[in-house]
């Protein structure tokens, strides 16, 4: 019972948070809080098998799937605050409040009496008890479930599949393109230069220096340049040495 009174407010707050956070990633993390707390409640309700399944299937698989899709759709694809239907938010809040009140008052008025408890049903172990029921009374539903899962996997593959519209580049075609670029524009035939390797920096974000001391822009990834995180390469070597000498003299 202590677990319930600790977790229930936490779950309600986290669930309410899903309604208000802007970023879907935060909503997913709040949902994880609700699901893990729910798993603990299952343990308190004498359902150790569902406790494990809740953590593995819901928190582990389903929530990770959500995060993967968010990675592809874009983490910062946040909600627009413009209402498409005027007054929809207010109506939804009022309707939700009404539904919640009706449900809570209705449930609170019903007298459940003392719980029978699962000691009897769980006496050979919870998993054994569940297996006895699933493989006897619910065996047809179980078989149908397997068909459902296969259909879902097939459906996801069909939906996510994309036909290739252009032929896949082969090694020969890439080489031919390079030679063509060299013939037409004089582009360099070889691979791109590696990033700079210096005494103090040799990370991929430090461009290499050309013979005249200017940074070679092709030596760092274009993604880093677009993010604006390319480091300034060390100055001209002579200048650098002079600077060092000056500092040494001051000391």
């Amino acid at each position: 019972m202590i677990a319930f009174w600790v977790l229930a407010p936490l779950m309600v707050i986290a669930a309410l948070g899903i309604l208000f956070v802007r970023k879907p990633v935060h909503a997913a993390l709040l949902l994880a809080v609700v699901m893990v707390s729910l798993a603990v409640l299952y343990l308190a309700l004498e359902a150790p098998f569902l406790f494990v399944v809740q953590i593995i299937v819901y928190t582990g698989a389903i929530l990770m799937l959500f995060l993967f899709v968010m990675m592809m759709v874009g983490v910062d694809a946040s909600d627009s605050l413009v209402e498409t239907i005027r007054g929809q938010r207010l109506l939804a809040a009022v309707g939700g409040l009404a539904l919640g009140l009706v449900l809570v008052i209705g449930v609170a008025q019903m007298a459940l009496g003392t719980a029978v408890g699962l000691e009897d049903a769980n006496k050979d172990g919870n998993i054994q008890g569940l297996a006895n029921i699933i493989f006897s009374r619910y065996v047809f539903a179980f078989e149908v479930t397997s068909a459902l899962l296969i259909t879902a996997a097939m459906g996801a593959m069909v939906l996510a599949h994309r036909e290739r519209l252009t032929p896949k580049p082969t090694q020969a075609s890439i080489a031919a393109d390079k030679v063509k670029a060299y013939a037409e524009r004089g582009a360099h035939l070889g691979p791109l230069p590696p990033p700079g390797v210096f005494a103090r920096h040799n990370a991929v974000d430090t461009p290499a220096l050309l013979p005249d001391g200017t940074p070679a822009e092709v030596s760092v990834s274009r993604t880093l340049a677009a993010r604006g995180v390319v480091r300034q390469p060390p100055r001209d070597v002579e200048e650098h040495v002079e600077q060092q000498l000056e500092q040494g003299g001051e000391r």
Binding site: F4, A8, M11, V12, A15, L16, I18, L19, P24, A27, A28, L31, V34, L38, L41, L45, A47, F49, L50, V53, Q54, V57, Y58, I62, F66, V69, M70, M72, V73, G74, A77, S78, D79, T84, R89, A92, G96, L99, G100, L103, V107, A108, L112, A115, V116, G117, L118, N126, I133, I134, A141, L148, L149, A152, A153, G155, A156, L159, A160, R162
Partner: protein
Amino acid sequence: MTEYVVLSAILFTIGAVGVLVRRNAIVVFMCVELMLNACNLALVTFAKQHGNLDGQVAAFFVMVVAAAEVVVGLAIIMTIFRTRRSASVDDASLLKY
């Protein structure tokens, strides 16, 4: 046991309001999952209340169906995102016209 059912009702309501209020398809989907979880809590509670495991089996099947539903639903969201470059539920409105 009533308080467990009340908690389940509250979570279900929050999920329902979320489906109505949020515009991002992924978050709407998460709210659907929240509603399914709330129902599971009620099922497990009643399993303990009545002293047999049928409620737990039902919750187990709900989890399996939810897993299948999430796989297909997220694939649909991905497909819509590819054609519309948006995950907002308001942008997939071409059937209206």
